[in-house]
Symmetry: C2
Subunit: 341 residues, 2 copies
């Protein structure tokens, strides 16, 4: 397979943004620059589809339609319970079934289609009815179509000018999701984050900036005393990594014991806060987990919030896993009670 080509092609796009004010000149620049590239690279750019040949719309469409047929066959197989979830081979064996060498010459479009089919043949069918994972399963076809669309739009979300509909859409979705938490959250603020780990880092930085506004310019040296944060021993490891990244050190991310169901024991939290204060430290941040990774436990938000109020600490709710229950009349309470505080 030669699927490294997408990657290399992206690099071409990076080298050659069209800096000129017309297409012929841009093309001339392109050809000049390509002549400076190693031969193996020049020969790898497939030039028989758009945008290299503007008259080749039909061929482009045919190629993409073939790719889509491969993808739709995968979707079909994923929903067929008689299909294997995975045609498993050990890595050494798998390497014999594939041809992953980076080729010296360009390959045909049909070869690319074949490579896509081979890739999907040996991929795990994560949407298969018999695929079970505690954190993910299922392939939602509407969402998948949405992802195809954003890949094709190939834009970013910097400003309204570069993504007008998406920016408006983001506002509507974020407002609606805040309203699901509580009607008085309408005028709040929210962001879409690329994942749970970085969301915890965002939260930590927001708390730090709110409580120690000099930290940003002057650094941790401005704070007289060791900052300390708290999280349950069942929380996601990314919480602890905040303490490492931001300069507290993982020793100052205190793991609070949890009960037999995996929920943070709040009286243990308070004891640990008092202990650290007695050593001259500054407890300032507590993370509760709403849906722990292994047991799916929900920490008692209201009880922890009371302790945070008492000792002047920031409360962060990591609801990367269980946040969806905000949509459920039946299951939201008591699991997420207090999230609105």
């Amino acid at each position: 397979m030669r699927n490294v080509q997408p990657c290399l092609n992206s690099l071409v796009a990076n080298i050659l943004p069209y800096h000129t004010d017309d297409v012929p000149l841009a093309r001339e620049l392109l050809h000049k620059a390509v002549s400076g590239l190693p031969n193996f690279f020049k020969e790898k750019v497939p030039t028989n589809i758009l945008p290299y040949k503007t008259e080749n719309e039909a061929q482009t469409r045919e190629f993409l339609n073939k790719v889509i047929e491969v993808l739709l066959d995968f979707v079909k197989a994923s929903n067929d319970r008689n299909e294997k979830i995975l045609d498993f081979h050990h890595p050494e064996e798998m390497l014999k079934l594939l041809d992953l060498r980076v080729p010296d010459h360009g390959v045909t479009l049909q070869q690319l289609v074949n490579d896509c089919a081979t890739t999907m043949k040996y991929q795990v069918k994560t949407g298969h009815p018999r695929f079970f994972n505690q954190l993910s399963s299922g392939l939602d076809l509407i969402s998948m179509a949405g992802e195809w669309l954003t890949a094709t739009a190939n834009t970013n979300m910097f400003t309204y000018e570069i993504a007008p509909v998406f920016i408006l859409m983001e506002n509507v979705v974020m407002t609606h999701m805040r309203e699901l938490i509580g009607s008085d959250w309408r005028d709040g603020d929210s962001i879409l984050a690329p994942g749970g780990s970085i969301s915890n880092l965002y939260a930590f930085l927001a708390a730090r900036h709110k409580m120690f506004p000099n930290y940003k310019e002057k650094g941790i040296a401005t704070i007289q005393g060791q900052l300390v944060m708290f999280t349950s021993d069942q929380s996601h490891y990314s919480v602890k990594s905040c303490a490492s990244v931001c300069g507290l050190g993982t020793d100052n991310c205190v793991m609070v014991p949890s009960d037999e169901n995996g929920r943070m024991i709040t009286r243990e939290l308070e004891k640990l806060v008092i202990d650290r204060k007695s050593r001259g430290h500054i407890p300032f941040f507590v993370c509760v987990t709403s849906g722990t990774t292994v047991l799916g436990a929900f920490d008692p938000i209201n009880e922890v919030a009371d302790i945070c109020d008492k000792y002047g600490m920031w409360l962060h709710v990591d609801a990367a896993w269980g946040g969806g229950l905000l949509l459920s009349k039946k299951y939201r309470h008591p699991r997420l009670s207090g999230v609105e505080r």
Copy 2:
């Protein structure tokens, strides 16, 4: 438009991973859970395609093919220089052209297709021959097809077991890209990062851990003296944000003046290093930029590397923009000379 649905549908997938060992039971669980959801939500799940109706493969395929036609029309228009790059409307006006309300009831599949078409109609054609941006332009169709494929595979890159072909492919691509830098880099290490800003943070953390291994557990308090980093005044703002995030403070990210072409002036760097050392600080990290955001300037890597050697500092090359020139025999030197050190 009702394009918030993909988002809400994803939430359903989060609430209802199939925890059971067979499909009928999973479906029963699904129905029970949905009955606990607010009505407006239940009615929004489109159930006339896979996986909700396993016999509806043809309808699913028809729906996705219609979406693809919309996307291919966008690709065609993007390559037509007689097309507008953007059908611009101010936000207030745009809101009148769209219907972004979250609906009370589910919508038809045809409505979703129409919504996709409306979205693309008002989207910037970033692949248009007349779209010029200093950092991005062009739509590479092979890469786009690759992104459709990964969206459909809907997996992550945790382990070989969950993404066998992708993991092997990643190894081949990363090895090949290291070989492009230098044949002796074959046995090195590399990662694919989601963007330039976080890459700078990764580099900063790697340097910090290499030079101060206690920092991770004990925090910045373990270091006797103020850490200082250096970057040119033309570098990307994410370099400075490392100093904020990691506890140095932005005041300890020293901006080195650049010459009239935007390149870091190395004698100014050395002066600033000496100045900070005389104040008892610990200079430990220098970022050179290989392709600055505004001017596309390349800092002199070899000269800066000599200073780093002299004062025992870590050298990081931010080549998010200009790294592609590693592929060019003609343009690699002298711009990226020294990157292999």
